[in-house]
């Protein structure tokens, strides 16, 4: 049971995350593209998604990081990188282009697999290939 508890927690977090994305409208590419369409008929709704998420996460993260260790793990696994590099900027630019092209980012795309729509399956398969390719380029 002790071994299963972190896995169960992780599963529940994924479930909540998916529910949040769906309720917020992030799983609708038309809403995402409408938000990015600042020069056209701009739809500001998704700014409220980020606002709602950060309103919770900012204070929560600040409090959590004052704890000595997580509830069910030995230590916090936080990114160790600091400073800006060209790779971060280039990667974010490519990511944004793909995001604007289809209106999907990784979380919503995986959640949308439940619909079994061909387009979503194609997107996720290509996304995983892109992740693996990126890992190779990291070497």
């Amino acid at each position: 049971m002790r071994k299963q508890l972190p896995l169960l927690a992780s599963f529940v977090c994924g479930l909540l995350f998916a529910a949040g994305l769906g309720i917020a409208g992030m799983t609708r590419p038309d809403k995402v593209i409408g938000f990015l369409d600042v020069a056209g008929a701009w739809d500001p709704t998704l700014a409220f998604v980020m606002g709602g998420a950060l309103a919770v996460a900012l204070p929560a993260f600040a409090w959590i990081r004052r704890q000595s260790h997580p509830l069910l793990a030995r230590e916090f696994a936080l990114p160790q990188k600091h400073g800006l590099e060209i790779r971060l900027v280039l990667g974010a630019a490519l990511f944004g282009a793909g995001w604007g092209l289809a209106g999907y980012c990784p979380g919503p795309a995986i959640v949308s697999l439940a619909t079994l729509q061909n387009g979503v399956v194609v997107f996720v398969a290509a996304m995983l290939a892109g992740l693996v390719l990126g890992t190779r380029l990291h070497r």
Binding site: P6, L7, S10, F11, C13, G14, L15, F17, A18, A19, L21, G22, I23, G25, P29, D30, I33, L36, D37, V38, F48, G51, G52, A53, L54, A55, A57, F61, R65, P70, L71, E75, A77, L88, V89, L90, A93, L94, F95, G96, A97, G98, W99, G100, C105, I110, V111, L113, G119, V120, V122, F123, M127, L128, G130, L131, L133, G134, T135, H138
Partner: protein, 139 residues
């Protein structure tokens, strides 16, 4: 119309709760692209919790499609080629940038990370530029 903003805020808050819970309980960052990338070799930081979280995302998608089908569009009108290119860009870009909308845009900003702030500014701008230049086609 205002109902959409409430849903966006509530969904966003739920996303924030899920991200905070994963950090508090398992000490992990809820960055979807990194969770997925870690499934493929070289694996570090364990696979189990990643699989569990993604299973949660998929289960959440299934629950949404049953309880709140409006979360998903009827079907994507985008061509499979466009979706494949977009997916590849999203995966590759997220890997190079070490994070995506969730890892940088929510968790990173909540940690007040400068790298995440830069990445978020770049992918938002790049997404907006992409929509601006491709808006001949509907999503």
């Amino acid at each position: 119309m205002s109902g959409e903003f409430v849903a966006a805020l509530a969904g966003g808050a739920l996303i924030g709760i899920a991200a905070a819970a994963l950090l508090y309980v398992n000490g992990r960052i809820a960055g979807i692209s990194n969770i997925c990338a870690g499934l493929f070799p070289p694996v570090h930081g364990g696979r189990g919790w990643r699989v569990a979280f993604i299973a949660g995302l998929l289960a959440g998608g299934l629950a949404l499609s049953l309880l709140y089908p409006a979360a998903f569009p009827a079907a994507s009108s985008a061509s499979p080629l466009k979706l494949a290119v977009a997916g590849l860009l999203v995966g590759l870009g997220a890997r190079l940038a070490n994070g995506c909308t969730s890892g940088h845009g929510i968790c990173g900003l909540a940690r007040l990370s400068k790298r995440s702030l830069a990445a978020t500014a770049v992918f938002m701008s790049s997404g907006m530029a992409t929509v601006f230049f491709t808006h001949g086609g509907n999503p």
